[in-house]
């Protein structure tokens, strides 16, 4: 806030908001159908994914639990991963992107039934997709699990929502484009391009041999980091200053962070293939990309974390800020792990073990999940014009998510360490059982969020004054 005095008074003509005090409320109201559809489906898939993850985890230490078709371990994992990434995180990310693009562009959503239709199509296809996976129709490839016929339709539905996000950009009123908008723009471009190209090269016109594995690794990294990660960063960059009421520290570094994030992230895909039968140079390129990715992680963290710290206790009680803090911390930890794990000496020990699963959970459920939750906790009350109905459920969600994820990451990493020492699978049973416990906590958290969201949706219609309160 040290900037305040330096702002020359002459440069301060009355803002749009001062002349038209009610301007934000109509934007929020116009977004309600699309954003609420996306968020509700997202919350639902988060619960289903957590259930599938829990069931698979239980099977890993209770052989024979729910054994037999269709609930096989491999199928449950495919369902969990698909619904976590394309179900929960993508829905939440798109909800946030729609809202942020319109809010920051100061435009209302037009033809709001179109993105609702896109969202319905996306989620209906996912429901069918999950059934197909349980029926054993999956492809067996991470991030490309769904049968290939789903790809084009899902991408088309995504494009409908993405086009409405993009239209907010093209109609925007403001001059300065805020950092969140850059990340959103990057995300909505990355997904369709990378997903279509990779689907084509792996499922429709399979490339020769291990080139498929290279494409799949490139695809997975882009979707995880440059698509979901960008949406998460967009959320953190917006929620933290807005909820704190303080500008971001070191904002002048934001463009450096953004471009290094893209430029290094895009080369880091093959880091997951170290030791695999792909040419050594391709592996090394991935290692370098993943290591350099720590630069933007550091730059962004050096902006977000000090802002949070300086924000001090004022934000303590607010749900968005609490989740944003978790998201920002998970981002830093995940980034550090990503930079270290691919090096050949480390990978020799830890590759294929549950340390990698822990790393993925930290990135997807921690960094991306918590950051987008921060966004949803911030925007949903404004879109509905009502506060969260149950603070107790918010607190429960926060506690379960924090404890559950922390415990899960620690137990998975512990189990992975055990695996790397060549211990027999029996020795890991206790770790697996502990992991199940923490997965149960994560499930409880997801249920709490879904419940609270449903309560918010069915709560009394907004009173006018509340809607206006959100406008100020």
């Amino acid at each position: 806030m040290s900037l305040a005095p330096s702002a020359p008074a002459a440069e301060r003509p009355s803002s749009l908001e001062e002349t038209q005090p009610g301007r934000v409320a109509p934007i929020d109201r116009s977004l309600a159908p699309a954003v609420l559809t996306l968020a509700a489906f997202g919350a639902l898939w988060a619960v289903v994914a957590a259930l599938a993850g829990l069931a698979a985890s239980l099977q890993s230490h209770l052989p024979g639990f729910l054994a037999g078709e269709p609930l096989l371990f491999g199928r449950l994992l495919a369902v969990e991963h698909t619904l976590l990434t394309f179900g929960w995180l993508t829905n939440a990310g798109l909800a946030f992107a729609l809202w942020a693009a319109h809010r920051l562009g100061k435009v209302e959503l037009r033809v709001s039934w179109a993105p609702v239709l896109g969202a319905l199509g996306w989620n209906l296809a996912l429901a069918f997709g999950a059934c197909a996976l349980l029926a054993g129709r999956g492809t067996g490839l991470a991030w490309l699990e769904l049968p290939r016929a789903f790809g084009p339709f899902l991408t088309a539905c995504f494009l409908v929502v993405a086009l409405w996000v993009a239209s907010a950009f093209s109609r925007r009123h403001t001059g300065h484009v805020f950092v969140s908008q850059w990340y959103i723009l990057a995300a909505i471009l990355v997904f369709p391009v990378v997903h279509l190209v990779s689907q084509a090269m792996v499922l429709w016109f399979p490339a020769a041999g291990v080139v498929q594995a290279v494409v799949a690794a490139w695809h997975a990294q882009h979707l995880a980091v440059l698509f979901l990660g960008s949406l998460a960063l967009a959320s953190l960059h917006l929620v933290i200053p807005k909820a704190l009421g303080a500008p971001l520290r070191s904002y002048y570094l934001a463009p450096v962070g953004f471009w290094t994030f893209l430029a290094f992230g895009t080369w880091s895909g093959t880091a997951s293939l170290v030791g695999s039968p792909v040419p050594a140079w391709a592996q090394s390129v991935g290692v370098v990309g993943a290591a350099l990715l720590f630069v933007p992680v550091l730059i962004v963290s050096l902006s977000l974390l000090p802002t949070l710290v300086a924000g001090g206790p004022s934000g303590k009680g607010s749900a968005p800020l609490r989740f944003a803090t978790l998201g920002a911390l998970a981002f830093l930890l995940w980034g550090a792990a990503s930079a270290v794990l691919p090096f050949r000496s480390v990978s020799a020990l830890l590759r294929f073990t549950d340390v990698e699963v822990a790393h993925a959970a930290l990135g997807l459920q921690g960094f991306v999940g918590f950051s987008l939750l921060a966004g949803l906790y911030y925007l949903l009350p404004r879109v509905t014009g009502r506060a969260w109905p149950s603070p107790a459920l918010v607190a429960a969600h926060h506690a379960c998510a924090l404890l559950g994820l922390l415990g899960l990451v620690v137990t998975l990493a512990g189990h992975g360490w055990l695996q790397s020492s060549g211990a027999s699978p029996e020795a890991g049973l206790a770790w697996n059982a502990a992991a199940s416990l923490f997965r149960f906590l994560l499930l409880l958290g997801a249920v709490a969020f879904l419940l609270n969201l449903l309560l918010l949706l069915v709560a009394r219609p907004a009173r006018r004054d509340l809607a206006q309160a959100s406008a100020r």
Binding site: P63, G64, F65, A67, G68, F73, G74, L77, A78, G136, G138, T139, G140, A142, S170, V177, V179, Q181, W182, L185, A186, L189, V193, V194, M201, A207, A208, G209, V210, V211, A213, V214, V215, W218, P255, L262, A263, T266, W267, G269, L273, G275, S276, P277, V278, P279, A282, G289, R344, S347, A348, L349, R351, F352, E356, Q419, P425, E426, G428, L429
Partner: protein
């Protein structure tokens, strides 16, 4: 950073660069690989898998085996794969060129299977492992795939899978476990997973 078209162009340029530099470049380098003889003029490898194994691969995928098993042997300096007896030599790109879907896998809750056809060259052992893992490996933590087997009267049973005395899955009296078509194909696929030949890029150790 206020010009959105420039940002979009920049993002697209980043994507295209890495696609060209990693995906396209490996494609160009590896697309020409064909079955080859190792140095001293041996037979061409890899060979096409028999038809039953091709069907078995679909069973493998649909049963989710790849969630726990990889199919890649890492070089000696990069993990203990060879020391654990999962293969005599590291896997190389040429080993996979005839596969229409490459299942390298990314998680190992069980052993690597790239060379399981040489390690367990015995249908009966493989069937036992799938029907009742705990009968094949003491203290196994793996769920069985009993749904790939059926009980028929012992008199009519061909290729019956025999379980040790008193096993929990012991068939009803007078009955015997026999593999279904899916199990037969799956085992044919497992038998076809072999990496016991030298490759120009990876000679067999003396």
């Amino acid at each position: 950073m206020n010009n959105l078209s420039l940002i979009l162009a920049g993002v697209f340029a980043c994507l295209s660069l890495s696609w060209g530099g990693v995906v396209l470049a490996t494609q160009v380098q590896l697309a020409g690989l064909a079955p080859a003889a190792a140095e001293d003029g041996g037979p061409l490898k890899p060979a096409l898998a028999p038809g039953l194994a091709v069907i078995g691969k679909d069973v493998y995928v649909s049963q989710g085996c790849q969630a726990c098993h990889t199919q890649q042997v890492r070089p000696a300096g990069q993990g203990a794969d060879i020391a654990r007896g999962w293969g005599k030599r590291p896997s190389v790109a040429r080993d996979y060129i005839l596969q229409d879907r490459v299942l390298l896998g990314d998680r190992r809750l069980g052993p690597d299977l790239a060379d399981v056809g040489t390690r367990l060259a015995d249908d009966a052992k493989l069937h036992l492992h799938l029907l009742a893992p705990d009968a094949a490996v003491a203290g196994s933590t793996k769920s069985g795939f009993a749904h790939l087997y059926q009980q028929v009267p012992a008199a009519r049973a061909r290729n019956a899978v025999s379980l040790p005395e008193g096993h929990a899955l012991a068939p009803a009296p007078g009955m015997a476990w026999v593999p279904t078509d899916r199990a037969v194909a799956l085992v044919a696929y497992l038998r076809s997973l072999r990496a016991d030949h030298a490759s120009p890029e990876a000679p067999l150790p003396e």
